[in-house]
């Protein structure tokens, strides 16, 4: 393998890895903020007690997750310069700005206020302390916004001009400058999609973990018998502690589902205009078609997906759907991969000069296998969250004294199984959008294609062994940390909350004061 391929693998591995933790941080910091708000605002002592315990419980999981997100984020920022120095030179004038804004506006907010939140319990007044977790939630959401704005410039460059003298893309006041970069229509579509994807991760996480405990306490209460004080305690835990959180997570999933569908639909439409090749390869649509269908299963010969488009056979198809996704009309004409490829060869040339000054042939087709399946995986995995949401809602139906909980082992295990699915869906979405852009690292804007850069022109001049060293080192360290992270999350999640005790004399609950420490 050459330095280019290794550098691409490294970017893929470190980014997908980083984005395991980031959506949970973004989503969970918001959900914990809502939990703590509920606890602070509650007048009813039982309710206040329950939400205080849940804030602490999910807060401790958030902290474990936060650390690794920050640690892997440093690599993200540094590797643009390390592995993609020629890219950095080409776009630095534009691309550096949103990254710097991310640091100034988001990272300081997140980390300073996370410290205040963790260590400020009991030191800061209750309401001020509540504001600190909101600052963390806002900070982590803002960081997503700036990084999406930066990424959107790679998908659809705006606000800049190519300076023929320096050969660089430069912010240009007549094009709207930084403001245009930050309000790029591509970013406006991708930001709600990414953030709601994070809410789905956190919603499924909260519902999954809480469901597991709810079923456990339900069964304990049933085994011991409701008449005994201990049985009553477990009944209380299932119904008054975990059940509201199960439903809270379901609400988060529903809200995120709506935003995901609406923003995803909008994204498909602009993708059709801005990057038709990505749309065509999402469907493995080889020839131009009118009223293109959406296939659910596709097979091909050994070289079908990367080499020879004609080898592809769609086995199960739903007519007109792809045309509808792209344009909201059933009979739209969609250009196929082969036609687009020929068109690009004419427009942008059949060869390109790489960083070492060599002329190499260009293949304008992304890897069809990866784009086709990652697109389907992204959407298909969401089905788990859908089933979990409706199932959880059904088993917890009823109000007040009739509020139900369940002892179903099947539901319990399905809830746990559903936790990782939105994580995978998020990764698949990123793999799709980044691999679907290839061979470009900066995809030309169809309205003004002067700003464009191919991945082969973006890589640093370092030798392959050097990049391979860092790939191996990062992969090993990340692998070890992933195991530790998983064990800690698992242990913390299994622990659950300590059950509230009632003082027999005063009838008061022993609601804990919130506190964490190292």
């Amino acid at each position: 393998m050459e330095a280019l391929d290794i550098a691409r693998w490294q970017f893929g591995i470190t980014t997908v890895y980083h984005f395991i933790f980031v959506p949970l941080t973004i989503g969970l910091s918001l959900l914990v903020a809502v939990m703590q708000t509920t606890s602070v605002l509650s007048k009813d002592p039982v309710r206040k007690d329950a939400w205080t315990r849940m804030t602490k419980f999910f807060g401790s999981l958030l902290i474990v997750n936060f650390g690794i997100g920050i640690a892997t984020g440093i690599v993200q920022e540094f590797q643009f310069g390390m592995n993609w120095s020629e890219y950095s030179r080409f776009v630095g004038d534009v691309f550096g700005a949103p990254l710097a804004l991310e640091g100034l506006a988001a990272f300081f907010l997140e980390s300073v206020f996370l410290g205040l939140w963790i260590f400020g319990w009991g030191k800061l007044p209750e309401k001020i302390h509540l504001l600190t977790i909101w600052a963390v939630a806002i900070g982590s959401t803002l960081s997503a916004y700036f990084i999406i704005a930066a990424n959107s410039f790679m998908q659809h460059p705006v606000g800049a001009m190519l300076n023929p003298e320096t050969g660089r893309a430069e912010l240009d006041p007549s094009q709207g400058s930084l403001w245009a970069v930050l309000t790029n229509v591509t970013a406006m579509a991708a930001f709600p999609h990414v953030v709601s994807g994070a809410w789905l991760v956190a919603g499924a996480f909260v519902t999954g973990v809480a469901s597991w405990h709810m079923v456990r306490h339900h069964n304990r209460a049933r085994d011991i018998g409701l008449e005994t004080p201990e049985g009553e305690e477990h009944h209380h835990a299932a119904r008054d502690l975990y059940r509201p959180v199960v439903r809270f997570g379901v609400i988060a999933m529903f809200i995120s589902a709506i935003v995901l569908v609406v923003s995803g639909d909008f994204q498909a439409q602009i993708m059709f205009k801005q990057q038709p090749m990505k749309m065509a390869s999402a469907e493995a649509l080889c020839e131009t078609e009118t009223g293109a269908s959406f296939s659910i299963l596709t097979v091909g010969g050994p070289n079908a997906f990367s080499e020879n488009c004609d080898d592809v056979t769609h086995l199960i198809e739903v007519p007109y759907v792809t045309s509808f996704l792209a344009t909201h009309t059933f009979d739209a004409e969609l250009q196929g991969v082969n036609d687009l490829s020929a068109q690009y060869q004419e427009q942008f040339g059949e060869t390109v000069t790489d960083v070492h000054g060599q002329e190499i042939a260009v293949d304008y087709r992304p890897n069809l296998f990866v784009t086709y399946w990652s697109f389907r995986l992204m959407m298909g995995l969401a089905a788990f969250s859908g089933i979990l949401a409706f199932w959880a809602l059904w088993v917890t139906r009823g109000k007040g004294e009739n509020a139900r909980t369940t002892g179903s082992k099947l539901f319990q295990w399905f809830a746990v199984l559903s936790i990782p699915m939105p994580f995978f869906a998020n990764s698949a979405g990123w793999v799709f959008t980044e691999m679907g852009r290839q061979p470009w690292v900066v995809h030309p804007n169809p309205d003004d294609p002067t700003i464009r850069l191919m991945t082969t022109q973006a890589v640093s001049g370092n030798p392959g062994w050097m990049v391979a060293t860092s790939l191996i080192a990062f992969t090993l360290v990340y692998g070890v940390l992933a195991v530790i992270w998983f064990q800690m999350m698992r242990k913390a999640a299994l622990k659950g909350v300590p059950l509230p005790k009632r003082d027999p004399d005063s009838d008061e609950l022993d609601t804990p004061t919130l506190s964490f420490e190292y």
């Binding site: 540094f78 004038d93 710097a100 980390s111 030191k123 860092s470």
Partner: protein
């Protein structure tokens, strides 16, 4: 050649701002590194003492590190050519740095999350590594930036990792380690009580001597062999005076002033290094014409203006709430926390914590 050495006002200002972010990073994260080194120095005092040592930076190290992350991003935005050549050119050194920075974040966040002495001891080893290694690597990296490396016509750095480990750079690494160690030890004298505080005082009294010697040798070497400016004799002397002043201040137990002195010494050293680097950002030691300078490595005037406006809006806010966070956590950290105002509250909080996390 002339235009390349003749930056505009805006470019000069941005060079100074990058310098400020690294100055803030080294002053703030410097004592975090030093505190982590002292996990090793006070190893024999046991698990609880090491926990107390780490607790002194618990609430603030994370925000301190953001000065690096944001400084790096600002470097990218304001000087893309510098960022690209530096990061791709110092590849293996940066790889090592990133790896230790990653594991050190995990050590901070995860050390206390599992109640087992073996678990904490393992992370304490990482803490010691996470204090020494980044300080050493930063020293080596910065010395090479200011002294210059070999650069080819593509602006690719051709000096290898072994080439980066030259005597001047290695001395720089040692100086960074000693200076941050001293800085972190003086920070500890301010933040802990009792026996630990006395031990930190003693350690600072020992550390200050090699720091003065190595620091003086390094800065003089730099000023005479590599600096591009004469005025940097001024910050150089300030750094020297501040460092020497630590000796009597520490003896008199004027802890606040002694810590202020190392803040001044680090700040003045960074000013000396950056001041002497100007108008270059990465001098080419082989062919001067290949040098990266403030003038030829920067973004456009327009981008620099836009980012300056953003910085002027956001930086005061950041400084305000960072300052507030330091005020909230200004008290000493003790094993019992009994001499704190509001300690009753804290006791209650700790009881609640024990109930929640340590008992089933």
């Amino acid at each position: 050649m002339d235009t390349m050495l003749d930056p505009t006002v805006l470019q000069t200002l941005w060079f100074a701002l990058i310098g400020f972010f690294f100055l803030a990073y080294f002053v703030l994260e410097g004592f975090d590194f030093g505190v982590q080194m002292n996990v090793g120095a006070f190893w024999r005092r046991g698990d609880a003492a090491r926990g107390t040592v780490l607790k002194t930076v618990g609430p603030v190290w994370d925000g301190n590190e953001v000065f690096l992350i944001t400084g790096g991003a600002l470097l990218f935005a304001a000087f893309p050519e510098w960022y690209a050549s530096l990061f791709s050119g110092f590849y293996l050194a940066l790889l090592l740095l990133l790896l230790v920075l990653i594991v050190r974040v995990c050590a901070f966040k995860w050390r206390g999350k599992v109640d087992s002495a073996r678990w904490r001891t393992s992370w304490d080893i990482v803490h010691v590594l996470g204090g020494f290694a980044p300080a050493l690597l930063w020293g080596v990296a910065f010395s090479n930036i200011v002294a210059g490396v070999a650069i080819d016509e593509n602006r690719w750095v051709t000096t290898s990792l072994v080439g980066l480990l030259n005597p001047f750079a290695l001395l720089g690494g040692v100086v960074f380690v000693l200076l941050f160690w001293l800085h972190g030890t003086l920070y500890l004298t301010l933040k802990v009580t009792g026996e630990l505080r006395a031990a930190a005082n003693r350690l600072a009294g020992i550390l200050v001597w090699p720091t003065i010697l190595a620091g003086a040798a390094y800065l003089l070497w730099y000023q005479l062999a590599h600096s591009h400016a004469g005025w940097t004799w001024v910050p150089l002397l300030i750094a020297a005076v501040a460092l020497v002043a630590v000796v009597p201040l520490n003896r008199l137990r004027r802890e606040g002033l002694a810590f202020t002195a190392t803040v001044a010494a680090i700040s003045a050293s960074v000013v000396t290094l950056f001041g002497g680097l100007f108008p270059y950002v990465l001098p080419a030691s082989n062919t001067p014409a290949h040098s990266l300078t403030v003038a030829n490595a920067s973004s456009t005037e327009h981008t620099l203006t836009v980012m300056l406006v953003a910085l002027c809006i956001l930086l005061p806010l950041i400084l305000a709430y960072t300052f507030w966070a330091y005020r909230v956590f200004r008290h000493r950290v003790t094993d019992e926390e009994s001499d704190l105002p509001g300690s009753a509250l804290l006791e209650k909080a700790k009881a609640g914590y024990r109930e929640a996390f340590e008992q089933e």
